[in-house]
Symmetry: C2
Subunit: 306 residues, 2 copies
Amino acid sequence: MSGEFELIEAITAELPTNDRVTLGAGDDAAALRLEGEAVVSTDVLVENVHFKRAWSSAHDVGRKSVAVNVSDIEAMGAIPVAVVVALAFPKDLDRQWVLDFAAGVKQECATANVALVGGDLSSSSIIVVNVTALGDLAGRRPVTRAGARPGDIVAVRGSLGWSAAGLVALSRGFRSPKDVVRAALCPDVPYGQGVVAAEAGATAMMDVSDGLIQDLGHLARRSGVAIDVRSDTLEVADPMQRVGAATGKDPLGFVLDGGEDYALVATFPRPADVPCGWRVVGEVREGAGVTVDGEPYEAHGWDHLA
Amino acid sequence: MSGEFELIEAITAELPTNDRVTLGAGDDAAALRLEGEAVVSTDVLVENVHFKRAWSSAHDVGRKSVAVNVSDIEAMGAIPVAVVVALAFPKDLDRQWVLDFAAGVKQECATANVALVGGDLSSSSIIVVNVTALGDLAGRRPVTRAGARPGDIVAVRGSLGWSAAGLVALSRGFRSPKDVVRAALCPDVPYGQGVVAAEAGATAMMDVSDGLIQDLGHLARRSGVAIDVRSDTLEVADPMQRVGAATGKDPLGFVLDGGEDYALVATFPRPADVPCGWRVVGEVREGAGVTVDGEPYEAHGWDHLA
């Protein structure tokens, strides 16, 4: 392993940037010119908790670490602007792993049109990645979890259940079906749709990281409402059906409980407000808690400390 | 260990805030209203690399993790506004360690008048802390490392060498002299002085994290200048002299090479520009590199991957 400064030099070549960056990486801090309020969120990814090197390439880990964090900025209805990335890793880790990780970070930044404006490197006994993302509300108010009102429509943009089905396949030693395994290694975040939802008048929004039912539970509690999900609106795609059939699991469980797909879920006052490409999956009611087809549902979700 | 959500609830009680925060912790992201450009910096602290549990209390680690990061915001001449803090820790770690860590984070936030607006928790085999700090340039341009010009005065605000002397004492099994040991466990960042320097017309600035000579080397290279430090301007305080005498080390080495004190070093066009409380330690010249009393100096500094 070369020294910190040499590696930083290799990593910081050709950083993704955008027109809000007024001072990029390389100084004590970076500077950004925002139009409206700043939004900020942070996520940590730990080896053997959030990813396994046996399953995920360094490039996957780089992409995912950016994707899951930028997803939080989308979920506020903000324009993602920039990320800073810290990486702690063992001294004997192959230098190529770090370079591939950086390439994955840069690729996902380019896809999301966010700039990579800073970071930190350290040694560590295991790999730990931390990404903090910044967004620009550009004159709008943030779309929080607390604004859903009885009568609102619940709609989703993005995949549900694919990552969970992929994890089940991986944990049984399979690398297929390819689409769900791919989803488990790096989510396909619906970039740009957070702003679309905000402009369409979304009353509440969040990203689905812990599972649809569990996350809607957070949204319902914060909004002081009940939410009912209609199971016949949920697509259980063919690869999920195949994983379900091969493992004896109900594939609808992947869709309702599976985390890590980073879809966006939002509430809208009227059906006509729901943007193109969003799927209506339920409705907001008076009361508390989340039901499926009007019945109580026992959600499991993901608890990274459990 | 209780679950993630219960612990988050305990930690997020009575979070430090300020008038720039428009949406605090608890949603997908927090929101801040800034007057000028945003500045952002991130730092990772790893157990047994940046701190040892045998030496540092959880409260110390919490304070230090905020201090070292907010120091980077000061170094741009910005007003520190907010931090997000991610903590990864072993499942069997005493819950009290996490609560004490959070108390240290909150205390340092209060001292620096920064808000704690978000975070993340994860399990991990070792303790890893990541802090990202945000600041507000409030209409000014950032003070970078690249603006020093020949003829400028070099001045320092804050301590130099105390932390390094404290580390030497700790590594020999001593808990005294108390002042330097205290400095090694948590730096005393000169909060507010970054803005003071910017308003006084600082042409370049950075914080001293890797050692005065090494960090001035970065500043000199980025500015395309040489810097000469006058050793007779550097205070070698009594506790450092005592550690030097007890260990056979030249105490001036602590001051010139010792990292982790997080003083601010800046350059100013004229002696009259140097703000009250700042100590002139050298001057900017044409050329390249850093000299001490006109002679070459071999700096060692700190390389966290070495």
